[in-house]
Symmetry: C2
Subunit: 364 residues, 2 copies
DNA sequence: TTGAAAGCGCTAACAA
DNA sequence: TTGTTAGCGCTTTCAA
């Protein structure tokens, strides 16, 4: 059964297609009786207007997009996506309890903010993701179907055709800063966050020797690493360089270094991690090696994701206003009404330190 | 600066628009040299194909939709969505820690499954929500822009034009069962879940007197309520009817009844709650009244959301395979390739009881 | 208040 | 292998 169109409705209602369109889009511009005829005909014919056609005609889609780069690859579930059929087996992973080490993470909280704001504004949300690093044309696909697009940075972001996109559609980078492109950047005050962490470790816990762990693959991570180096120097702190990893590598070299440091007893008094997920991993490795946190070593994270609060011990971290960031992205995009920015915009949002117990504090 | 189109690219590359289209959609059908010309021209012109135009021409959009009904209204944040500007203030709620009583909930875990499967299949996800119960034409809007649509049931779902939609686009109802419409229904084995809960309370904790609390506004809730009534009768258990609320009301009448029962000391030995969120609320009210769980009364939930596991005490509940349900929805929709079902389909998924401590068990 | 008609940008026969 | 061309369904001037 063919889908019915304006033409079908128009014929059935005995009016023109223009009137059908008006009956839906500008109800007040149409005589009540006419409108009723149209609506009735539409109901009988199961008329569902084509958003594609409308988008084409209007030059807008009414949707805002959020693009995440190879999220799947970074999450354990990604690999289990095949077994959709054997749910009856008792040991199916679908029955395991929710695991907050996998969800919700940083991107999820931002996504949630984005969705809230879009719904608030009556925009629909389009979610896209590349399955493989090579598929960077998928971002162009989604860019072509929205009035504005928010993008998460990631390793591989450099390959994305962001320079072209931002000339065609309003583009927001989240957790990233770019002053060369005519797009908006929303990021948090990484420097202030790292400083407050370091100061806390020094001033409250009298640490004289610390290091930094993390993959320096994005703007955020780089900012934190730089802030660490700088502030630690400024405070005259010794740095256990054995651990420092300022490589751009995607592999987790720091794990090797950390294990070596454990084996050779070269651990610093404290480790500042690039983010909560890294901190979680570091803590697991240390714990497995019989090293206690915070008795034997202090750990800090960054981001303030849910898992940081519920890990044992809870992680002392810096919380980004993630929901807010997502909402701001949607707001900025919506306000552009489809018109790309003509100069770089940036929004640096404040952060707040959250004291857990991994730094040696007692939080009741 | 006008967005460039196939025509612009075609002219610049010195080919026809068809060739431009082919160069992108069927790269192998175009001579290498020609394709290169096209791609170069496209890059120079910042060409971003219009998904609307493609959707129109192809009759498909490549997106799958997920529609939630008035989610915002049910969540505390919904009301705070205005203050997007004053983030510098120290007490901004954006800095509060993630609150799992608000997110992620039942729908979020399903949504996540839906997203995972869509990404896996290379489909984009369209998220839509009605801001107000009256805005039920928004679902038609999103139905018009996807190749398949999943819908959450809710109070108010009855007002939705589901009968018309399911004749135009493949439709999946999640957490709902409908044998009258030509759509698919994905729901869990509510009856088995309730039975295992009741049996546990009776057989392990020797409960002889229990009741049920919840708003009976959706298929799931109704199923659980019915299963409760039936199984409790079958096991010859006394029911504290003072608490039973089988009304269809949206207001939370059960709160009143619960408070009365507390005041008059009419509480049963155990309360089976319609879902985890209700259980959380019930526990809060009881705790505030100085009643201890599980010492003074046993509580069970349903769903297995994250907050149930981390509440104190952890809630004994029944876990639905939520991620799986979302994934199944996406899979079914994708497989229809835009063609509506011509008869009702239903998928009842198994559940599993998860022992917490709210039932009186000790889980270390 | 309604109708006629010209696009919107892309795709896919069909031809060449 | 590439070009021509007829739509896809809706919106929106402009006229009536």
């Amino acid at each position: 059964m063919r889908k019915s169109t304006v033409y079908d409705v128009a014929k059935k209602a005995g009016v023109s297609t223009a009137t059908v369109s008006f009956a839906f889009r500008h109800p007040d511009k149409v005589k009540d009786k006419t409108r009723k005829k149209v609506l009735d005909a539409a109901a009988i014919l199961d008329y569902v207007p084509s958003a594609s056609a409308r988008g084409l005609a209007r030059g807008k889609t009414g949707a805002l997009g959020l693009y995440s780069f190879d999220m799947l690859l970074e999450r354990p579930q990604g690999s289990e996506l095949e077994d959709l059929n054997a749910l009856n087996e008792q040991n199916d992973s679908s029955f395991t309890r929710p695991n907050m080490f996998v969800y919700p993470l940083y991107v999820d909280e931002i996504q949630r903010g984005f969705e809230l704001e879009c719904w608030h504004r009556g925009k629909t949300v389009l979610l896209g993701t590349a399955n493989s690093p090579k598929e960077n044309n998928s971002i162009t696909d989604i860019a072509g179907s929205v009035d504005g697009l928010a993008v998460f940075p990631n390793r591989g972001t450099d390959d994305l055709p962001l320079p072209q996109l931002c000339r065609t559609v309003p583009l927001v980078r989240i957790g990233d800063l770019d002053n060369t492109l005519s797009c908006a950047s929303i990021y948090c005050d990484n420097t202030a966050g790292i400083i407050s962490l370091i100061d806390h470790l020094i001033d409250i816990h009298h640490i004289t020797d610390m290091s930094f762990i993390g993959e320096i693959t994005t703007f955020d991570m780089r900012s934190r690493f730089n802030a660490f180096q700088q502030h630690v120097t400024q405070r005259g702190i010794q740095v256990t360089t054995a651990l420092l990893d300022n490589s751009e590598a995607t592999s987790q070299e720091w794990m090797v270094k950390l294990c070596e440091a454990i084996d050779t007893n070269q651990l610093p008094q404290a480790i500042v991690c690039a983010n909560d997920q890294t901190a979680l991993n570091v803590m697991e490795i240390l714990t497995d090696a019989g090293i206690r946190i915070p008795e034997d070593i202090l750990i800090t994270g960054f981001d303030g994701i849910m898992a940081a609060e519920f890990s044992r011990p809870p992680i002392t971290t810096v919380r980004q206003p993630m929901e807010h960031m997502g909402r701001l992205a949607a707001k900025l995009l919506d306000e552009r009404a489809g018109i790309p920015w003509d100069s770089p915009q940036s929004y640096k949002l404040p952060v707040r330190m959250i004291i857990g117990e991994s730094c040696g504090c007692k939080t009741q």
